[in-house]
Amino acid sequence: MSRSAWRITWSVWHALLLREAVARMFSRRGAIIWLLMEPVSQIGFMVAMFGLIRATHVGGMDTALWLTSGMLAFFLFRRVATQGAAAIGANLALYTYRQVRPVDTVLVRSWLEGLVMLLTAVIVFAGEALLGVHLQLEDPLLVLNAILGLWLLGLGWGLAASVASELIPEAKEILNLAMMPLMVISGAVFPLAAIPHGWREWVMFNPIAHGVEAVRAGISPYYHHAPEMSMGFLYACTLVLIFLGLALQARFRSRLISL
């Protein structure tokens, strides 16, 4: 049974993925439905609100499409980030097996949540197509690039936040509180291009905003995205956050397994 370190890690990831998937989809009655309901209801609510004030276009883009793409992009980050942040605490029982490291649980969850969000997006856009809102990709590579960037950003957040929320009791609450204002200042439900010059530069220090705007820019050729949008900035932040997260995981590993 002498296996290489890489083989052990691979089988741990495989086992954790199956276990997390079972827990996520079958832990309670209709768990799959609820997984879908959360983003669908929020997007539906916002679309209805914008319809009520008769805003048919935002920045040159169909409102429903603008909201759906922006909110799904933000939810991708939020899901991966919050689920990743809770991964270490949810799997404390497993560190009994020396093959399982805390960082594995975060990595596997991020992967799973990414897949779940991808599936959710497909279902949501398919549903909208039936209702007459058609998705066309102007620049598929930019969309993919932005999605990958947002996913990696969520992964970095999860890696760092999972350590912080286990070691500092208050960190969990503060990081979760931050998610609500983040949704607004990331431009998921609010056009960033409408913020006056001079203020907008500050808002654009938030890397999520770059990803959200890039997804829309990749979908619609006529969309007026915030002019500061930069994939380079998004990926730079991603790199820093992932590095910080991995460093924390390595530094506090032995504290985390004896919680």
Binding site: S11, A23, R98
Partner: protein
């Protein structure tokens, strides 16, 4: 053979670093020797077992495992309450790289644990005796050179204890056992050598009776 090199261990508490639980432990646990771990409550028996099994890391020093060592069984650790016994068993098969012969292993676990249809119920519905039956069956289903047992036999009923005793006896010659127990009879039944943990230090005895005698003397004094 398992080697403990200059092991120090202390836990982080809410008020900073706690007191040393284990201080400068140097031990060589030879192959095919059943070892009983003795010491009063809080002496660090479980801590030492967790370090040997790799469920925890020493603050200083290192543990060298030159053989296949099981995870430490005992007190419900390592079982996810929301998943069934079977799902937990599958997970353990997978992380040990045994997914290709999972079928026979699951059968062995189910037969040995004797928890009937509860094998497919969530672990959180189990009684403590059922939990230790499952844990015991789980670790016996894999071929380890050394099995680590933290009082796992003490929660079961008489039938289970007899079964566990037989299973341990069958391991002789093939694998060995490192165990804790507060029952001197159990220790004498299974172990040949003993480790007495006292004030953070470990004392090795080639005969379990000597270790028990030293322990008795320390608590009567």
């Amino acid at each position: 053979m398992i080697e403990l090199r200059n092991i120090y261990k202390r836990y982080q508490t809410d008020h900073g670093a706690g007191p040393w639980v284990l201080r400068d432990i140097q031990l060589m646990i030879p192959k095919n020797t059943n070892v009983g771990l003795i010491g009063r409550n809080g002496a660090g028996k479980s801590t030492l077992l967790r370090l040997i099994g790799g469920a925890d890391q020493p603050t200083r020093g290192e543990v060298v495992r030159a053989c296949r060592v099981s995870w430490p069984m005992g007190f419900g650790g390592g079982l996810q309450g929301s998943l069934s016994g079977r799902q937990n068993a599958k997970f353990i098969c997978r992380i040990h790289g045994q997914q290709d012969n999972m079928g026979p292993i699951l059968d062995r676990i189910q037969t040995f644990a004797e928890i009937g249809r509860y094998f497919d119920e969530p672990v959180k519905t189990y009684s403590s005796g059922m939990k230790s039956r499952l844990q015991f069956a789980l670790s016996l289903a894999f071929d380890f050179d050394v099995y680590i047992s933290d009082e796992v036999t003490s929660t079961g009923d008489a039938a289970f204890q007899a079964k566990a005793a037989k299973a341990f006896k069958d391991l002789v010659g093939r694998s060995s056992l490192i165990m804790t127990s507060h029952s001197a009879t159990t220790l004498k039944q299974f172990c040949t050598a003993g480790i007495w943990l006292h004030e953070g230090q470990a004392h090795w005895f080639d005969r379990i009776d000597d270790a028990l005698a030293a322990y008795q003397e320390s608590i009567s004094a």
